[in-house]
Amino acid sequence: MGLGERPGLPVMPAGEGEASFLTTRLDEVVNWARRSSLWPMPFGTACCAIEMMATFATKYDMARFGMERMSFSPRQADLLICAGRVAYKMAPVLRKIWDQMPQPKWSISMGACASSGGVFDAYSMVQGIDTIIPVDVYVPGCPPRPEGLIYGIMMIHEKIRGEALKNPALRAEDPARVGLPNLPAEVVAEITTPFGNSTNQNKLSGLVSRGAVARPTDRHP
């Protein structure tokens, strides 16, 4: 989409012998540049990464959106796509990659496992990467089709479109939070409350899992 097609951007037509020019807001230009040339940092750990590869390959062709190249260095990337489950052993790696990415940066949690732990409600698995890093867009699916990932990237585009350079909270980053969990302990405990039918294991082990027997409506009274 060209600049001129956006409503609210007055374009002065060039008159006879005059220099042409246009006026716009700085936000519009900066956001247009940012969203039109995202460099993704692929963090592919499982089958979602296969769909991500399909998305970036010829048929779906993310180059159409200015994502010409996967950036395999976090220092030259501004969009982290976490595609697949993340083990606790991998958590510091994900956090370090996120901390190494320069601002401005966004992140997509692709698939059920990255977003919530998915079927892996087990001892070794991070229950949603939002406990580790901030997440802008969650793409549901197991795995999501390339259309799903593209839709998520379009949502990132929309999010970037609405950003304002003057918003001080937007790009704020606390150096003291580097390498630490993204959420406070009590929030992690709440959002990872067990659900589903995997309670037999806990019965065998003598643990009482209150969250597993509660109805979903009981979780937020």
Partner: protein
Amino acid sequence: MVDKELKDAVAGLESGPQATPAAAEAPPGAAADAATHPSVAALRARFGAAVQHHTVMSGDEHVVYVAAAQSAELLRWLKEDAGERYDLLKDVTCVDYGGGRPLEVVYELWSIPNRRQLRVKVTLPLDELVIDSVQPIWRTADWHEREAYDLFGVHFRGHPDLRRIMMPEDYAEGHPLRKDFPLRGRFSRAEQTRRALAQAWEDAYTPQELSVVEHEPQLGRPAADDAARTHAEASGALNPDALPARPNEADDFSLGTSGSAAGGRQGGQL
């Protein structure tokens, strides 16, 4: 005769598969049991009571249970005896049947020269999970035994480097594949998240392990240098002064921080 077989077969297409009379009479696995595994017979003759019992699984998979005290000696004999030569150790693993029953250590052996399979099992009571390591016998047992130690808590006596291999180095919740281990671990998710991000994984590895060059020397120096060193070692005339210095020796302990700044590693940068 052939005509009759063909006729029966065509007629059988309508009625579907039928059990033959012979198969109905013989109990499953009887044929394999009758032809006793030659290695099991040899083990019984040599080790006597240490060979506890022998069963056949899935038709032709021979399983022999042996005493823990003599397992390493017995396995070494299986590898080195001229008639056995089980030179391929396919797997070392454990089974926990739960309910306080003893844990089983499983050795999956294959003899390439004799094309013969043998599964050796050792039962260990839960209060004494100690067994001799077979790493000196088969080098491949190194990581398999580390895995069994990590996930089941079996201590392999004599293993040169028995530490966790899959779970984080500072994992404090126990051994996850044991039946008494809760599915979601022993700590809360918040605590697990905190500990995961607090792990100093750089500290768990030696500088050599973090360096590709150190482990794959051929990446770091010219082939001629390698050949000279190997020849000198083989002929017993290794004189460190006479050989060219290895370029990455000097900065062994700065690799973790200085990274590619060390000039000697340039050849190994991938």
